[in-house]
Amino acid sequence: MRTTLHLQDADGFYEELLDAHHGLTQEQSQLFNARLILLLANQVGDARVLQQCLAAARTEQSVS
């Protein structure tokens, strides 16, 4: 799993991500996120990297 920056335009992507949720209900946002995760996961492909991403995403939750 990559932990250093790989995004070409970090601030730009972050803004686009937030904008994409604009005007969506809670339910629509959830579905959007699920679709996005599946699309991105297929870009990654590598099973080990995906497992590490799942684990990394979980860790933040248990800490907070």
Partner: protein, 574 residues
Amino acid sequence: MSSSQTLAPARAYQATAFTNDYAFSKGGYTLPVYPFVAPAELVTGTVLRHPVVIVGAGITGLTLACALARLGVKAVLLDEDNSVGVKGASSRGICYTQKSLEIFQRLGIYERIAAKGVQWSVGRTFAGHDEVYAFDLRQQSSFQLSEQPPFINIQQFYIEGFLVERIQELGGIDLRWSSRVTDFEQHDGFGTLTVDTPEGSYRIEADTVIDASGSHTPFHEWCGATKQARRGDDRWCIADVRFSNLPPTERHTWIEAPFNDNRAVWQHLMADDVWRIDYQMEPDADPALVSSETEVRKRLHRQFGPDVECEIVWVGPYAYRSQCLDNLHLGGVFFMGDTAKIVSPFGARGGNTGVADADNLAWKLAAVLCGRAGPALLDSYNLERHEAAQQNVLVTNRTARFLRPADGMERVFRTAVIGLARQYPFARQLVNTGRMAVANPYTHSSVCEKSGGLSVQNVQFRWQDASMGCVNDLIQWANGRLLLLVFGDQSAQARHRLASLSSQAPVVCVQVLGADARTQSLETVRDPQGHLQGACHVFGHAWALVRPDAYLAATGEAVDAALVKAIEHALAIA
């Protein structure tokens, strides 16, 4: 009366009647009735010891008995019923895989199954009114080379009936109907079973007991078997029906069927023009309510239109569970079929893996009992079939989770998958309406090398006289011994080694050559297109050690000490 008549469906379907458990129709089939014959134990009152006693004459127990009969091993087969099918109902398995069909070909009943059953290879999956994806197994190279098709659909009791008749033809199996096992005790080196019959009970001793008695087996408790189990709230209701006008011979699955309140529906053809329509119900739905004839007809009309004319052959509401025994071999008892593991029906991984369990143990029992292999060979049954059982539980649980997602995020992700699948090919692979059963590979068997553990398809080759043969012919010829295929020219030294191997070990050696290569001093077959080589997963100069269950024990290149070791290893005689 000929056998085909015995198993033919009744012309006039019987009136539907409620029973207290599973079905409201008795099936409309005239099933064979097998007479009870009092065995020697009951007549003379003496307790006799048998090398092999099989409990349960379902598809698994019958496959085992038939395979043993073919290998010349005597066995007693006990069944509490006097017919095939569950108490005369027509449900249970309908879909048989290429691997099962290859096994049935070896047992000598494939032709009857092919004549009676329905072949299919096209599957379509729908969500709402849209087709999400479709497949044609005939287009997939992995299925093309076998003598047997990817799948045949047929009511399970037909296969059971064919097996019974084949067993009777082969002889050597003592089939005891109306014989219910009510007690079992394991002693040092043998077990004692108590058997209840219409003419009283008796006791019988067995060196080896095979429990193939199904999901309600009492042997788990008698043997102290431990297991992993899981049960959900998903409920389904099967309707087996005959239509006046026929839908296509394809497997159709709906993840969200508009005509079933957006729940899943399965549609599959079987023999006798009977269709199985399987409807997903509300979680924890009341089985009595959903299986009433009025409700079933309502569902059929919603799906096929108000004018559809159909006869209801059988209805069965069901819930499924998954269960896997921790060890399939306890003391002198082997577990197979539903006593080894229970899976949801998605992917046809129940009956087909029971057939594979039976085929796995049969040749091993025969080899050990005939002194061709060491007793440790029997330990590999658990290693190989437990791996398969766990894999099948894992795969079917994943399907069940896709079909009955938990409320909340699981459902959100499923909606996301279905939506993406309409647009993008990658997401179609995430749509899981059942992953069809395969010949499970063995990756940590005690008797397979790392190079082995894979199934060999029943592909064709040419005999020396240019007539066609298939892998099963060679296995048949090896008759319970290992089959050693050596590909390509062999040096004089290698030929000498192979000749001495054939004379000293229970191995039948066959040289496989291309179309024009010169014959050497070995039994030879021709593989002009390389199908046999492909089926054995080897390339160029190589050897493949094929077991009687058409699994590779090992493969290698040189005819040297590694081959000798692989043979000893495969038979646990090292």
